[in-house]
């Protein structure tokens, strides 16, 4: 810096704040960093943020807990190992689609065609394999290419031409239903016979691999936390008290450990042992982790939030707004293809209606989890948790043998509730971008 630091003699010493482990910093420093203080101070600051409407995924997590307790009382099957594994695989498609949508929702945009994109690309995939006898990896690559192309097309019309994304993707929503119908033929249905694809949702990892996965997750979380702390120390800014790192790792270990313990028990009904974490789980976790890393720690991610917050400010700061907008749609459509893959793996077949219904549930999942429809606020984790809430409602009501109509009505009610929370917190606070 060329600017000389004006030495200040503090007239009145500030209230001697607690901050034993912030000794790196000047004691007379009047500008804090939000990292100072004990666990209690941090907890108080967190509560304050919540009071200001910055609730993140808290309502959704609370909802998840309440629903779990409720359904475990109402149905003896809800809290079984079998149903837990089933729930995860049922949710995977929606989790993936919700995460895909976060990338455009952060911009304040929407992709109503994400569902039919997953349906169309999967129709293409299976028809290429079943009818044209193309090797499945090549057919899958073609399906992904079609997804990327779809995102490029949407991005062109939204970011370049300037048509509202609602209109462009509504058009595509209709158009792709037609395209899927032409690919599959009316009334047609194709079976998915590729073992590798079926395995994603129907096979499990060996029990030991589940525990190794948890160990890797804890190791990576710890590694990143300590890397961050080392960098902050090097820069000479205070770190949060280290107890928070242990608490975070402890929470991951306890919750993750409990889930894997449950999934490691035999849940086979008669002959044969069924145990281990479903293969889809680590795939979702890897995508969640990479996506979160990109959103939190790279320019692309930061600019998505910035554009969602104030596009003009981002433009004036030299952000290539058009390119970022465009890429967000490509990421969304590409991840939608992954969601389609989970879907056909679970269902085992594909017909012309594939992906028609799910997109609104995907948007609902994101919003229920705390992603703002107004842009600039939300995380991938939020969409995942929101999708779990919706999946639990579907699963639980299904166990109770209630008519499907009840499910839709309850899900709709939850969505409106979540959107209300979103609107209120938008008035009361700016966002929840910083991680804890």
């Amino acid at each position: 810096m060329s600017t000389p630091r004006t030495p200040q003699t503090p007239q009145a010493p500030q209230t001697t704040g607690p901050a034993p482990d912030t000794s790196v910093n000047d004691v007379n420093d009047l500008i804090g960093s939000g990292q100072e203080g004990s666990v209690a101070d941090q907890a108080r600051a967190y509560l304050q943020r919540i009071q200001h409407g910055d609730m993140g995924a808290l309502p959704a997590v609370a909802g998840l807990v309440v629903l779990t307790i409720l359904f475990s009382f109402l149905s003896p099957f809800f809290l079984t190992e079998r149903n837990f594994a089933n729930l995860l695989t049922q949710a995977a498609t929606l989790v993936m689609l919700g995460m895909a949508l976060v990338f455009v929702l952060l911009l304040g945009e929407i992709d109503l065609s994400a569902g039919v994109t997953s349906g169309m690309t999967m129709a293409l995939f299976i028809v290429l394999v079943n009818v044209h006898a193309i090797a499945w990896p090549i057919a899958l690559a073609i399906a992904f290419a079609a997804g990327i192309l779809t995102g490029t097309l949407i991005g062109f019309f939204v970011a370049r031409v300037g048509i509202p994304s609602f209109v462009v993707t509504l058009g595509l929503f209709l158009g792709y239903q037609g395209l899927t119908l032409m690919i599959i033929g009316s009334g047609g249905l194709y079976r998915v016979q590729i073992p590798e694809i079926r395995d994603i949702q129907n096979s499990n990892m060996p029990v030991w691999a589940g525990w190794v996965m948890l160990a890797i997750i804890i190791a990576i979380s710890a590694g990143i936390s300590f890397w961050d702390r080392a960098r902050r120390t090097r820069a000479g800014v205070p770190n949060r008290t280290i107890a928070l790192v242990w608490i975070k790792l402890g929470v991951i270990a306890v919750i993750g450990g409990a889930a894997i313990a449950v999934l490691s028990r035999n849940r086979g009904q008669s002959v044969g042992v069924v145990e281990g974490v479903p293969i889809v789980v680590p795939i979702v976790l890897v995508i969640l982790w990479i996506g979160t890393f990109v959103l939190d720690r790279t320019r692309f991610g930061r600019y998505l939030y910035a554009i969602g917050g104030n596009a003009e400010a981002a433009r004036r700061s030299g952000v290539k707004v058009m390119a970022i907008r465009w890429s967000a749609f490509i990421v969304c459509s590409t991840l939608a293809v992954v969601s389609g893959l989970f879907s056909i793996s679970k269902v085992g077949s594909i017909d012309a209606a594939a992906g028609r219904e799910i997109v609104l549930s995907g948007v609902a999942a994101a919003v229920v989890g705390g992603v703002s429809l107004f842009g600039g606020r939300g995380r991938l984790m939020h969409a995942a948790i929101g999708a779990l809430v919706i999946a639990v409602i579907t699963n639980g009501l299904g166990l109770l043998n209630l008519p499907a109509g009840v499910n839709l009505m309850v899900t709709g009610g939850v969505l409106i509730l979540a959107a209300t929370v979103d609107a209120i917190s938008r008035v009361r606070a700016g966002g929840s971008l910083m991680r804890t």
Partner: protein, 250 residues
């Protein structure tokens, strides 16, 4: 007199049929505050948006350090060390102070953010400007008051060795004490050798900090004045068009 850091001549800009800048010239000098005054709609904001590369001029010449430059993108301007504090501030409410100050020029290591370094530089800059009112650099901008936002916007402008800082009506929305703080900040910037262009409606502010006063009237520069050789009444005369300086306009 010194050599100007930046020199505009014959700058023109129209929006459709409306000609907003009709051949404007302007100079700014290192270490000096040049006030740009003019009535609403005179074209002040349009003039500086061109300098920022946000809204390029239709024609005319811009010389920086004596050499002609083209300003067609915000990055062109920031590469030269031109920083603008906009009238509407242009901050992202959903980001915190550090993130706003570094938007578009984040510090990275292996392609990922070095948050510690950014936080350090941000708080150093705020401290060098003697900012005392901000509680934490990790506060969301949405939680800041008008004066604090102004401070963040100015701190953002001087974060990276700016050579020309342009402030568009920085005190318009501020109270008395905050206005005084911002004007002190403006003076301190100039004392550090930065060329400052200050747009203001408030002539008291202008006379308090400016070395030169340039008057824009309906898209034309009608007067270049030295602050200590002119009077309030003269400036008002030029602004309202009742007075015309000989040889000022092309």
């Amino acid at each position: 007199m010194d050599v100007p850091l930046i020199e505009l001549s014959g700058v023109v800009k129209s929006f459709g049929p409306v000609s907003v800048l009709k051949g404007v010239e302007l100079k700014a000098f290192p270490g000096k505050v040049t006030a740009l005054v003019g009535d609403n709609g005179a074209g002040k904001s349009t003039l500086i948006k061109g300098l920022a590369g946000v809204q390029p001029y239709d024609g005319g010449e811009v010389r920086f350090d004596g050499a002609p430059v083209s300003l067609h993108h915000p990055r062109d301007a920031s590469r030269l060390g031109i920083e603008v504090v906009y009238q509407d501030l242009a901050l992202c409410d959903n980001l915190d102070i550090v993130q706003n100050m570094f938007l578009g020029r984040e510090e990275t290591e292996f392609g990922t953010f070095d948050e510690g370094l950014m936080e350090k530089e941000a708080s150093d800059t705020l401290r060098s400007l003697s900012v005392r009112t901000v509680k934490s650099v990790r506060q969301k901008v949405s939680s800041l008051s008008g004066g604090q936002r102004q401070t963040v916007a100015i701190a953002r402008a001087v974060l990276k060795k700016a050579r020309l800082v342009i402030l568009d009506e920085p005190t318009a929305a501020l109270g008395v004490a905050q206005t005084e703080q911002v004007l002190n900040l403006v003076r301190r910037l100039a004392d550090q050798g930065v060329a400052v262009i200050l747009i203001s409606h408030n002539l008291a502010d202008v006379f308090e900090v400016a070395d030169h006063i340039d008057v824009l009237y309906l898209g034309q520069m009608v007067a270049h004045l030295d602050a200590d050789q002119t009077s309030r009444d003269d400036v008002v005369g030029y602004i309202t068009g009742t007075k015309v300086q000989q040889g000022a306009s092309a």
